[in-house]
């Protein structure tokens, strides 16, 4: 049975269909792994009871009996929905997010709630109000964030898939730090209905798996138009695994964003690993061009401003009136708001709300918010121009390997800047996948991004699948799990 911990969804499907293992046995196997390893990993905030997992889902479908976990900022009917925040510590969701409803319709077993940075704000999973998550490759290090719990669970073989959310890199950066595959789809491809909003114009549900094919399978289930989300694209559900054959598509041009790969501050071991990945892509038949994305150096600043501005507005709803925490000592309504929010939000969320209100306030909105939107527009234009000449772009996912828990507690800007290579993708609304491409000498995973034009998920999956099949990185797993 131990051999099932790190296998693909397709292999599990075959084991189930050939009745070598029953649905109940498989679920029990993964539930036991979660209970056994979560104390060391902190990846999960809750592991659900066996029977409630089975009862919640359809008894057939593409993902029938395949267990996964969900970042705890995505609504699951009848389950707690905490966003890893004290302000929602007792909140129970009253409906399923569209992505959850689609997974359940296809029979997926949703086995738990995954840890995250509070309200998805952070890049290390250390701002969770409950406990931090740890990197399975070295539990003294962070798994990245904000979807650190989802990613750590998949990397440690506690489940074959998980959902996270990616507003500025929150699926791709932890996927790179933990050596797995993480997709941020095109904005609007996956419904945001039932996702607790952080920065609504950038938020997207993302997918964590150990292989590209598994990732494409999950996307095939959750993507597609949803009338409940006004930003949902008019794209119908589609089988994203259909064209995956392990081969590089013909006539592919890949653009290497040189001012990203050779930017100041990128760890030399990461640069070397990506250079080798590019050589491999070329060997597989891709043409390689070297390109520039000049607006990249302004993207993190624009992302800080836009995301915090939207967060300040979105998080105004947590005021102690209708749900969640309420300060019981307050004598007036305004006092109740202020005390509830001071007690309910951690320091990172508080500072982001404050930055957001600052950049939106009279006198500063022009200098900050409006200029940040101009940078966003410039980035979109530059990406569009690049995609006129290339099919897929390559860029690092992260500037450095997984760092120690607490390493940047006195320098939080360093944590903010973990998003440096990922947030431009959210600002442009385009898809990107992070793939493992090697290890540092100290055996920490390295990842890189394949970026596609608007709606080009199928294309980046094809290139990613070809690379994955030609390299050994997806076969490496952390020891002790």
């Amino acid at each position: 049975m131990d051999s099932l911990s790190f296998v693909s969804i397709a292999y599990l499907r075959e084991q189930l269909d050939s009745k070598k293992i029953s649905h109940a046995e498989l679920l029990e196997y993964f539930l036991q792994r979660m209970h056994a390893h979560n104390p060391a990993l902190g990846a999960l905030l809750e592991v659900f009871e066996h029977d409630t997992v089975v009862q919640a889902s359809a008894a057939a479908g593409l993902l029938h009996a395949i267990p996964g976990v969900i970042k705890d900022n995505i609504s699951q009917s009848g389950r707690r929905l905490s966003c890893a925040s004290n302000v929602l510590h007792n909140f129970v969701a009253t409906y399923d997010a569209t992505a959850i409803a689609r997974l359940k319709q296809q029979g997926a077993y949703i086995a738990g709630r995954a840890n995250l940075d509070e309200f998805a704000m952070g890049s290390s999973c250390e701002t969770s109000a409950f406990y931090p998550a740890h990197n399975p490759w070295d539990t003294t290090r962070v798994p990245g964030g904000s979807s650190g719990g989802s990613i750590a669970a998949v990397a440690a073989g506690l489940v074959p898939w998980a959902l996270g959310t990616d507003t500025g890199g929150s699926v791709r950066q932890p996927a790179a730090l933990c050596g797995i595959v993480g997709l941020k789809p095109t904005y609007g491809l996956v419904s945001r209905y039932g996702v607790v909003a952080y920065a609504s114009s950038l938020d997207q549900i993302g997918i964590a798996t150990r292989t590209v094919r598994d990732n494409a399978l999950i996307l095939s289930v959750i993507a597609g138009n949803d009338p409940h989300d006004s930003s949902s694209l008019p794209i119908q559900q589609h089988d994203y695994t259909q064209k995956l054959n392990g081969k590089m598509p013909e006539d592919i041009t890949i653009g290497i964003i040189d001012n990203a790969l050779y930017a100041e501050g990128v760890d030399p071991e990461i640069v070397r690993a990506i250079e080798q990945a590019v050589t491999e892509l070329e060997r597989l038949g891709a043409r390689v061009k070297h390109v520039q994305l000049p607006a990249l150096e302004y993207s993190a600043a624009a992302y800080f401003i836009i995301s915090r501005a939207e967060a300040a507005s979105n998080l105004a709803r947590f005021d102690g009136v209708r749900y969640g925490l309420r300060d019981q000592e307050a004598k007036s309504l305004v006092d109740m708001y202020c005390q509830t929010r001071a007690q309910g939000f951690g320091p990172e969320v508080t500072s982001r709300i404050m930055v957001g209100n600052y950049v939106l306030s009279a006198g500063y909105a022009g200098a900050f918010y409006e200029n940040a939107k101009k940078v966003q527009q410039l980035l979109r234009g530059q990406f569009e121009s690049l995609f006129a000449d290339v099919d897929v772009l390559v860029m690092p996912t992260h500037p450095e390997p997984a760092f120690k828990l607490g390493q940047y507690s006195v320098d939080p800007l360093k944590i903010d800047l973990q998003d440096y290579f990922t947030c431009s993708i959210n600002l442009a609304g385009i898809p990107a996948i992070s793939l493992p491409c090697g290890f540092t000498q100290s055996k920490l995973p390295i990842g890189f991004q394949l970026i596609g034009a608007h709606g080009a998920e199928e294309r980046i999956y094809q290139v990613a699948d070809a690379y994955e099949q030609a390299t050994p990185w997806h076969t490496h797993h952390p020891s002790g799990f």
């Binding site: 009253t94 302004y298 109740m336 404050m354 950049v359 966003q376 410039l378 939080p412």
Partner: protein
């Protein structure tokens, strides 16, 4: 470099409806200063851009239709003290005796 004063941060805390003591204000001044100093770089590039370019955005509209919703499970999430549907209880708006 962005220069953020304590008074500004106190005002922003009020706008944000977040109570902050003097120690917390000190920490927030430092944090806002750091983030906003970094973010100021957007001013440079925006100046270099052509004036009059519009951000391309399109609103997606849908028909405004009222659907019946079971509000009880939602109301039961309200913090104590609760009242019966359809009301929440909150402290007095005006703090008069």
């Amino acid at each position: 470099m962005a220069h953020i004063t304590r008074d500004e941060v106190r005002k922003i805390a009020n706008i944000s409806s977040i109570a902050a003591d003097e120690h917390e204000l000190n920490t927030l001044v430092q944090r806002l200063q750091e983030v906003l100093t970094y973010a100021e770089v957007v001013k440079e590039i925006a100046l270099a851009m052509e004036q009059g370019e519009e951000v391309r955005q399109r609103n997606v509209m849908r028909t405004d239709v009222v659907h019946a919703t079971d509000t009880l499970p939602i109301l039961l999430q309200a913090p104590l003290p609760r009242c019966s549907e359809p009301y929440f209880i909150v402290p007095k708006v005006l703090n008069r005796s």
